[in-house]
């Protein structure tokens, strides 16, 4: 029985031709996105992730390969067929890309006008959507009068207007502050659950992935380095690119690599909110150095990771490892 894939990217290549020669932006990309999931694509800037998401609705024409959305190969469609197909693929951008001379309501009506929906019908639908994204009171506001988070909410409502099967999100929280980012991500997750819309998220921030994604693809220098569930990639990153992204905010880890080994702990929400490291230090009677920590408490559960520098004494190390085993905390020794 075949999995139900809504987007399949097959053997995708993209080369840009510039005056200084050609640049390979995407090289042999293969991705299958399941219907109804939130799929993340993470990579550093210049990795090719934005080009990849633009290939998924053919805003960017692949040099070779195919993009199959809900069973139809977009690369084989005529222009008017492609336009029709695009109405079922919503897209949200980092820069919002709202029409500045239209009100919030008219912005949401815009894709419906394009699709030829009657004005009255479009307005009713747009009002509902503004309510869904929490902006019912802002329908007459122009984008210039809205905050970044509000603009992104209008953009989300607009992308949803035509009841798309897929929502492509290109760095949509990168221009927002952490609080607003959290609320936008919560909204996406909610929409995914309520509407069942498949969401593809492009980002350079691991926290976006861990917050909402089911599966993730790591892209580095035009290649897909690994694909897996967020849990898998988080616990046991196989590629150097994944490890680099996981420790994005800890550039000075090298400085800590003294004599003791580095141990990475992953908190996946299965351990309760207790002072685990403090308990470990007391019970094992040995000290550890916290080289890096990024954990958060969500509804009393701990998520995130921590990098510990272990003592040199192998007996102490064994005590620590058996303590972690007894607490069911997954860990991995870092090379």
């Amino acid at each position: 029985m075949q999995e139900d894939y809504i987007i399949q990217v097959r053997d995708l290549h993209k080369t840009f031709h510039t005056n200084n020669g050609s640049i390979v932006v995407l090289d042999n990309i293969n991705i299958s996105i399941k219907r109804g999931e939130i799929f993340g694509i993470i990579g550093l800037s210049g990795a090719g992730k934005s080009t990849l998401v633009r290939c998924m609705n053919l805003l960017e024409k692949p040099t070779s390969g195919s993009v199959i959305v809900d069973g139809r190969d977009l690369t084989s469609l005529s222009e008017s067929e492609l336009r029709r197909e695009r109405q079922s693929i919503g897209m949200i951008f980092q820069g919002y890309n709202l029409l500045m001379q239209r009100t919030a309501l008219d912005n949401v009506c815009f894709p419906l006008e394009i699709a030829g929906v009657k004005k009255k019908e479009a307005r009713t639908k747009a009002r509902q959507l503004l309510e869904t994204v929490g902006l019912a009171d802002k329908e007459k506001a122009y984008p210039a009068q809205l905050s970044g988070g509000q603009k992104q909410r209008v953009a989300i409502a607009r992308a949803l207007a035509t009841n798309p099967k897929v929502l492509l999100c290109d760095e949509i929280t990168s221009a927002l502050d952490p609080t607003t980012t959290q609320s936008i991500l919560a909204l996406l997750k909610d929409l995914n659950q309520k509407l069942g819309v498949t969401i593809v998220v492009i980002t350079h921030e691991m926290k976006v992935i861990e917050r909402i994604c089911n599966r993730v693809a790591i892209i580095d220098r035009s290649h897909i380095e690994e694909i897996g569930t967020v849990d898998e990639v988080f616990r046991r990153p196989k590629s150097a690119a994944a490890r680099k992204l996981l420790y994005e905010r800890s550039e000075n880890i090298e400085k800590f690599t003294g004599n003791g080994k580095l141990l990475r702990l992953v908190f996946d929400g299965s351990s309760a909110d207790r002072p685990i490291i403090a308990e470990m230090v007391l019970k094992c009677g040995t000290l550890v150095n916290i080289a890096f920590a990024d954990t958060k408490n969500i509804h009393g559960k701990i998520y995130g990771q921590m990098l510990l520098q272990l003592p040199e004494d192998p007996v102490a190390v064994n005590r620590i490892l058996s303590y972690l085993d007894s607490e069911h905390i997954s860990y991995q020794e870092e090379a």
Binding site: E85, Q87, L98, M100, Y142
Partner: protein, 220 residues
């Protein structure tokens, strides 16, 4: 010449000048605006790149724009006579004014429309908008404040061109200024006409700025 005569003369010239300016501007926009839009759409970064069409239209626009108006005025006289029946008077002046202003407007429209954020066009494409829908639902409305400002500049430019037509008996304030001030050495009458011209330009420009600002939803 009595004050009464001067008033009558000025009023006549004023009416003719406004007639030439507005009829020419409106007609020139009918021709220049679509040309400007075609130039934008067929540009290499446009929504339907077409180097051949863009190159040919761009070349014609540039050629027309580089012919000095005073020469164009005389060169198109056969066309003027064919359309209006005469080469003298304000209606006759409208023909060369339109021919001179249309390519100018094409470039003004092109530069206004190119100010529209690339991202907004991309968003519209992602929603499945056709090139035609993008032009009339995105490019024109989004560029509206800039287009209105451009229209104010264009109108004042056409006004000053219309004054030049006075050399070949084109009518209007410029015609009066040349006839009295240059041919009859009545400098005072010329000064009056120039002052009225300056006043019209000021009013048109201020009105254009005001309308443009009032139509721009990016401020406030």
């Amino acid at each position: 010449m009595t004050i009464g005569d001067l008033m009558k003369l000025t009023a006549e010239g004023f009416g003719e000048t406004l007639y030439m300016t507005f009829v020419s501007t409106a007609s020139a926009y009918l021709i220049g605006m679509p040309i400007g839009l075609i130039l934008t759409v067929t540009d290499k970064d446009g929504i339907k790149p077409n180097p051949l069409v863009n190159g040919i239209i761009g070349f014609i626009v540039n050629v027309l724009r580089s012919v000095p108006f005073i020469i164009l005025l005389i060169a198109v006289m056969p066309i003027t006579r064919a359309i209006v029946g005469t080469t003298i008077g304000s209606s006759a002046t409208v023909v060369p004014l339109v021919i001179a202003a249309a390519p100018y407007i094409a470039r003004m429209v092109e530069s206004s429309v190119k100010e529209v954020d690339r991202g907004v066009i991309e968003a519209s494409l992602s929603m499945g908008a056709s090139p035609f829908q993008i032009v009339y639902k995105v490019l024109l409305p989004e560029a509206r404040p800039s287009l209105l400002l451009g229209a104010a500049i264009t109108t004042t430019t056409i006004l000053s061109y219309s004054a030049m037509a006075g050399v070949v008996g084109g009518g209007g304030l410029g015609d009066i200024a040349i006839r009295y001030g240059y041919h009859r050495k009545q400098t005072d009458i010329m000064i009056v006409m120039v002052v009225v011209l300056v006043a019209i330009v000021q009013v048109l420009q201020a009105a254009g700025n005001w309308i443009s600002r009032r139509n721009d939803k990016r401020i406030r």
